[in-house]
């Protein structure tokens, strides 16, 4: 498929979503702009308890004192925060009768990604038949989780039904004062996900299955909070390989993870938001704060991300290793094409004794894109015997893109062992020719080489996700060569 065909798909798909967002009632929205009154109304509409409103207001007042940061290696036109509506009730897309009514080129992209028919229907807003009713499937999952005492619901539901847990943990990893975007999110977040895994429980399913079936339009200011109590385990999947479009340009989500003694959280993301057209017009600004606290002894938090979408990606999923013997991991593939810009990496903050962190970052730049790895490893004074291993690789396709690596090390304990490896490589003409000579087209050859390059990271993804992510990498590179 040529690049023009790809952008044609983007165009058509874009049309599709615009259409989907136009027709609905505008009555249940707040006017554009941000002030205390808007926040009060927002909180009231969501019927929130007093503590939530207080927290939002506190955040907003702090936000007013902050300046938008500009240290990332990205460029974009400034966001007008007064031009955003901070609350609108979920709008319905028109329901289609069957997949026959969906743009066939969009379906082709789905097929290439290996997305199941049922999921295709859900993504395109086709009514699902009674036999495979997503609501009933979701209910089955929910019953199973309930039996184990696992709470998994929207953030709004959690505020209503489990205010004590929300109050205890919200902002405990990413404080409301943390940074410009996180503080804004704290003031105005619309909804998101909440999960609590009780003591000693191993969550028997990837929390994706449920999530993906239920994936609602969570909006531009999403908030996720996951708490793994002592000795528990959970694997959580966020996102979807299917191209996702949104009318909101700025996305400023916050994700907080808390792992108590001997608990483990595995958090996997596949991000494929609309990256804008070939010239960089449109596209989503993805400014996300993701942080996990390994609060207990022997706890472990593992971030795996495959980032292919968004015009600008700006995020650093991080681990605060507080508990002794705790472990933090970050596995990342960030791919940029056309005019995309990514500034992503991680922070590993070693506070406890014998803490260990691993960073594997694979950047792939194509087109005229810019791809930066930015990472911090900080070993605190009291973090005896801390260890870190970092590997940051960059792969370049063509000669108009850029790859940058900004590793920061702050080591305050002489017993620390920190290793950093970095490589930059290009896909060789001879590699492509070799594969051509075995009957493989140039596009497939690049897909194969790129997937081989990302192998260590893809291996960390749950199986079903890994298969889709592998295809996603190839599809995202279409039109980048030739």
């Amino acid at each position: 498929m040529s690049s023009t065909e790809v952008s044609k798909i983007e165009e058509l798909a874009n049309k599709e979503y615009k259409y989907g967002f136009v027709s609905e009632i505008e009555a249940d929205s707040l006017p554009n702009g941000l002030n205390e009154d808007i926040i009060r109304q927002l909180s009231a509409k969501k019927n929130e308890p007093e503590f939530m409103l207080e927290w939002r207001l506190k955040s907003y007042r702090h936000w007013l004192t902050m300046k938008e940061p500009h240290w990332a290696n990205v460029q974009y036109t400034p966001v007008d925060y007064q031009a955003i509506s901070y609350y609108s009730a979920p709008k319905k897309k028109p329901t289609l009768k069957s997949l026959d009514e969906v743009d066939p080129e969009l379906l082709e992209v789905y097929n290439k990604l290996g997305i199941s028919l049922d999921e295709q229907k859900r993504l395109t807003g086709v009514a699902v038949d009674a036999v495979f009713d997503s609501v009933s499937v979701a209910t089955t999952f929910k019953d199973k989780l309930n039996e184990l005492g696992i709470i998994f619901c929207s953030f709004s539901e959690a505020v209503q039904n489990h205010p004590e847990l929300v109050k205890k943990y919200l902002g405990s990893v990413v404080p409301y004062t943390d940074n410009f975007y996180a503080t804004l999110n704290s003031a105005v977040f619309s909804d998101g996900s909440f999960a609590y895994i009780p003591k000693g429980v191993r969550c028997p399913m990837e929390l994706s299955t449920y999530f993906r079936i239920n994936a609602a339009n969570t909006g531009q200011f999403e908030r996720t909070l996951i708490v793994a109590d002592e000795g528990s385990y959970v694997s959580y999947l966020e996102g979807c390989t299917a191209p996702i479009r949104d009318e909101n340009q700025l996305h400023a989500a916050v994700v907080e993870l808390i792992a108590l003694d001997n608990a483990q959280i595995k958090y996997s993301t596949v991000q494929n938001w609309y990256p804008g057209d070939k010239d960089g017009k449109g596209g989503i600004y993805n400014f996300v704060t993701k942080r996990g606290a390994c609060r207990g002894v022997n706890s472990k938090i593992s971030w795996t991300q495959v980032e292919t979408g968004s015009a600008i990606t700006w995020k650093y999923p991080s681990c605060i290793l507080q508990g002794d013997n705790s472990v933090g991991e970050f596995y990342s593939v960030a791919m940029t094409n056309n005019r995309q810009q990514a500034d992503t990496g991680t922070k590993m903050i070693h506070l406890g004794k014998n803490t260990k962190s691993t960073i594997i970052s694979k950047g792939i730049s194509a087109g005229k894109s810019q791809n930066s790895y930015r990472g911090l490893v900080r070993i605190a004074k009291k973090a005896e015997n801390a260890r870190n291993f970092s590997q940051c690789d960059s792969l370049l396709l063509g000669d108009k893109c850029g790859a940058h690596t900004f590793p920061y090390l702050e080591i305050n304990n002489p017993g620390a062992k920190v290793e950093h490896e970095a490589t930059t490589s290009k896909i060789g003409e001879d590699q492509i020719f070799y594969l051509n000579q075995r009957g493989i087209s140039t596009e497939d050859a690049i897909g194969l080489i790129v997937n081989g390059y990302c192998k260590e990271v893809l291996a960390e993804l749950p199986m079903e996700f890994a298969v889709e992510a592998t295809k996603l990498l190839s599809v995202s590179l279409e039109g980048s060569v030739g």
């Binding site: 590699q431 000579q437 009957g439 497939d444 194969l448 997937n451 990302c454």
Partner: protein, 254 residues
């Protein structure tokens, strides 16, 4: 099967092949010999479709098709296989993955069903024995960390799986010790049939003791200056390439 007519080709403005004529029929093995820099590898690369080489003049007809009009991958799908002189490393891509992708691409091209994993694995197990490769070899990344001998054996293994009609072996003997050479030659011999043809490009006669050619061609300065039967290789070995260089003019006219 293959007919090369007056082929002129070069790289970055330098003409390397200066009018090659060669005819290869199904079932035949042709050896192309010649001193360093005579254009042997260029010929192999041009036939496989390497873009850096520019064809200035001439025609290559392969099974009725104009080979030079086909993209490299389509040449491969049509049954042209090049065993590389320097096989390329592809980190993270397993041998199995490469072979499965390649084989299914070729099958698709011919309108055949793709092989499922079980069918594929039984096929490659059978072919592995041909070049005496170990099972664990399959999960390793393509050519990464392979010894010289392993790389060459891997080429022949790939050839065995992909079953080309026309195989071009580019200096497959270079860097091989005598045991590895025997294994590789044995593999090639087992794949010979009346339906396929092989072009063996080599500097030394040694390989031709094991892969016995039907025809031997001597390439010098971009032209085939002498052709003959298998005994020509022996004669060359005995007399050295100087024999060709010195007597070039008269040889051309023979």
């Amino acid at each position: 099967m293959l007919e090369i007519k007056n082929l002129h080709a070069g790289i970055e403005g330098n003409e390397i092949l200066k009018g090659i004529d060669l005819k290869v029929n199904a079932g035949e093995v042709h050896a192309i010999m010649g001193p360093n820099g005579s254009g042997k590898s260029t010929l192999a690369q041009v036939l496989a479709g390497r873009e850096e080489y520019e064809v200035k003049e001439g025609k290559v007809i392969y099974n009725g098709k104009n080979l030079l009009d086909l993209a490299p991958e389509d040449r491969a799908r049509e049954g042209v296989f090049l065993a590389f002189q320097y096989p390329v490393e592809i980190p993270g891509v397993s041998n199995t993955n490469l072979l499965k992708t390649a084989l299914n691409e070729i099958r698709k091209y011919h309108g055949e069903e793709e092989l499922d994993t079980i069918e594929f694995l039984s096929l490659i197990k059978e072919k592995m024995n041909l070049v005496e490769l170990d099972q664990k070899f399959l999960s390793r990344s393509v050519n990464e960390g392979f010894s010289g001998g392993e790389k060459k054996r891997n080429e022949i293994f790939q050839m065995a799986v992909l079953q080309p009609k026309l195989a071009i072996l580019d200096e497959t003997d270079s860097g091989l010790d005598i045991d590895a050479l025997k294994i590789v030659a044995n593999g090639v011999n087992k794949l010979r049939s009346k339906d396929n043809a092989t072009i063996v490009v080599t500097h030394y006669q040694r390989l031709l003791n094991y892969i016995v050619p039907d025809f031997v061609h001597v390439l010098y300065n971009g032209k085939i200056v002498k052709s003959g039967g298998k005994e020509l290789a022996l004669e060359l070995e005995a007399k050295g390439y100087d024999w060709i260089k010195n007597g070039k003019e008269e040889l051309v006219n023979q």
